[in-house]
């Protein structure tokens, strides 16, 4: 056990070091892709706390992604909030409030009903974003016109891409590492085990004295906060937020990333994000009929490796170790 843990730690450190080096070694466009992927990591980790650990499939997680982005853009435009830390906290707070409300209603249901209900909420939020033009900018969305302060430091003298590729990149990397470690602590804690127990067998879990609904709600809220923080980080990269982020296709993308990487493993979704981003870039530049490939990939994953890439890697690893 200890050996595996230390091995894991070793690999994690190498991965972090690699990620830290990316802006220096990779071509600019791939730095951009890596940065986008980094911002999506909290999103998929949050989604997976709900899906992989609690067993609730949310088809409306775009709601919280958009919530984080709109909170950020709204505060920057209307109150010229500059500190990124404050913006992240504000996004988390709004996700906490909305997540509590939506979650309270949704967690009463499970399985397909939960998926349908979250889908409906996502779509209602989407329509709200389009209709309340004075606050949300309607379909045009809101633009972020200036760069935030990072830890109180002003990097505004940098050109856009230099800002994104240097200070902002490392800032996001730092935040993502903190959030990932926190999530890891959460899921391996007593709380995380309770969630798993609920997923495996909710009746048994209830018999063990776990308040299922409350735990599902906690899980929902944590998930919402993570997703929203991801949105807050993403907002500065896109510097333009639109309602499409709460549309069901975006929610579907989050599900796809998670499945691709593998929801059974804590690190699976993170792999999923990177592979998805690279794959999408590759396929979209190669053929215009990229949906066929995506659909086929989805089917193949579901049929052959429901555990996603991480499961596939583990299988290969075991195979070679066994042989």
């Amino acid at each position: 056990m200890k050996k595996i843990l230390s091995g894991n730690l070793f690999f994690t450190l190498i991965l972090i070091a690699l990620l830290a080096l990316v802006p220096y070694i990779a071509p600019p466009f791939y730095v951009y892709l890596t940065l986008t992927s980094l911002a999506y990591i909290p999103v998929v980790i949050g989604f997976n706390i709900l899906f992989g650990y609690t067993g609730l499939l949310s088809f409306g997680h775009g709601l919280f992604l958009a919530l984080g982005m709109y909170t950020t853009a709204f505060l920057m435009r209307n109150y010229t909030m500059e500190n990124l830390e404050v913006l992240i906290l504000a996004s988390a707070l709004s996700a906490f409030i909305v997540g509590l409300g939506v979650g309270y209603i949704c967690v009463k249901y499970t399985r397909i009903y939960f998926a349908l209900l979250t889908l409906a909420f996502g779509m209602v939020f989407y329509t709200l974003l389009i209709k309340f033009t004075p606050i949300t900018g309607g379909d045009e969305g809101l633009r972020i016109t200036f760069k935030p302060l990072l830890l109180g430091l002003d990097f505004r003298y940098l050109p856009h891409l230099d800002f994104l590729f240097q200070p902002y990149y490392y800032y996001v990397l730092g935040i993502v590492i903190i959030l990932t470690v926190l999530a890891y602590i959460i899921v391996s804690s007593h709380f995380g085990l309770s969630l798993k127990a609920i997923k495996e067998n909710s009746e048994k879990a209830e018999a063990l004295g776990i308040n299922i609904k409350r735990f599902r709600l906690y899980s929902f809220v944590i998930s919402a906060i993570y997703t929203s923080i991801g949105g807050a980080l993403l907002a500065h990269i896109t510097s333009h937020v639109t309602p499409i982020f709460s549309y069901w296709t975006t929610s579907g993308e989050i599900v796809f990333m998670t499945l691709l990487g593998g929801f059974t493993n804590f690190f699976g979704p993170i792999i999923g994000v990177f592979v998805y981003t690279l794959l999408r870039d590759f396929i979209m530049s190669t053929i215009i009929y990229w949906r066929i490939l995506f659909g086929a990939a989805l089917l193949l994953i579901i049929i052959f490796v429901p555990g996603g890439i991480s499961e596939g890697l583990i299988r290969i690893y075991k195979h070679f170790k066994g042989a």
Binding site: F51, L57, I105, Y109, R111, I112, Y113, A115, L116, L117, A120, F121, M123, V124, T127, K131, G252, V255, F256, L259, Y289, W290, R291, I292, F294, G295, A296, A297, L298, L299, I302, I303, P306
Partner: protein
């Protein structure tokens, strides 16, 4: 302007029922597959779109061959039925592998199929809207209270009710229907009494497919076939089955009527609310009675 004159009400009611008939066919396709296979089959939206595209190709071909437009409706129905081969192909080729997996995966598998079909349509028919040479006024017009309606509207409404009746008859009276009901109730016990569940799965999925393709074929004299029509249809059908209760056929009929009429009236009275209302009803139904108006307790 008087808010609701008799002629206004006539227009809204008739249009509402017309929309309901199409929505019903699609949602019936969802229901039958959910009832038997317990899979929320998003692909039915793609079948709707394919039905429309193939319907256009079909009818244009026959009209070019020199057949009279009077047979148009027949050709459309033929087009819808001819696509039934998609049912067994997809059921055996894809769904067969996901029955034992979690619900989420089954849903995502059909989502994957939707993506594939969307691009296949683009590959075959391109991205321009496709239009049939079969005009809606072929069967004339019907005048009522100083407004007029194409007779075709009534034909579609009648066809939908006929199909609903046939479905009911099939499920209630025929041997295959009895087997289907037994499978919907309890797969294992049906197997233990000699029901070949595989065949029933193929049958129900094929019926679901044909309902979708028929709906698509029937709509084309009224509108054009465009990319994305399948996804829009599935969203609406989704709302209908949630309101109806998953798996309930009569519920689907009732809920389609509700949704179709409501849409027509809301659009007239509170146009800004149109997009909202359906989702709000879905949320309300899920909160008050999650099994829907006529759904079985699960």
């Amino acid at each position: 302007m008087a808010l609701l004159e008799p002629s206004t009400i006539t227009i809204l009611v008739l249009t509402g029922i017309f929309s309901s008939s199409i929505i019903f066919l699609i949602s019936a396709g969802l229901q039958i597959v959910f009832g038997i296979q317990r899979i929320l089959n998003l692909t039915v939206g793609s079948f709707y779109a394919i039905g429309a595209y193939v319907g256009i190709t079909f009818i244009n071909f026959f009209l070019k061959m020199g057949f009279s437009v009077v047979y148009g409706l027949l050709f459309l129905i033929l087009a819808g039925l001819s696509l039934s081969f998609l049912g067994p192909t997809i059921e055996r080729g894809v769904l067969n592998f996901v029955y034992k997996k979690e619900e989420a995966f089954q849903l995502l598998a059909t989502f994957g199929l939707v993506l594939i079909f969307e691009d296949m349509i683009k590959l075959i028919w391109g991205s321009y809207p496709q239009i049939s040479d079969f005009g809606i006024l072929t069967y004339g017009e019907f005048r009522f209270l100083d407004t007029s309606f194409p007779v075709y509207y009534f034909l579609v409404i009648i066809s939908a009710f006929l199909i609903a009746f046939l479905l009911e008859f099939f499920i209630k009276k025929t041997r295959q229907g009895k087997k289907m009901r037994s499978v919907a109730d309890d797969i294992e016990m049906s197997e233990g009494l000699g029901v070949k569940v595989r065949n029933i799965y193929i049958l129900s999925f094929t019926i679901g497919t044909v309902l979708g393709t028929l709906a698509g074929a029937l709509i084309i004299p009224v509108t054009a076939a465009v990319l994305g029509m399948g996804i829009e249809a599935i969203v609406l059908a989704f709302a209908v089955v949630v309101i109806a209760g998953l798996g309930s056929m009569r519920g689907a009929l009732l809920a389609s009527l509700i949704v179709g009429l409501l849409q027509a009236f809301i659009t007239f009275i509170f146009p800004e609310l149109t997009t909202f209302v359906i989702y709000l009803i879905v949320i309300a139904v899920l909160l008050i009675k999650p099994t829907g108006l006529m759904g079985k307790e699960i």
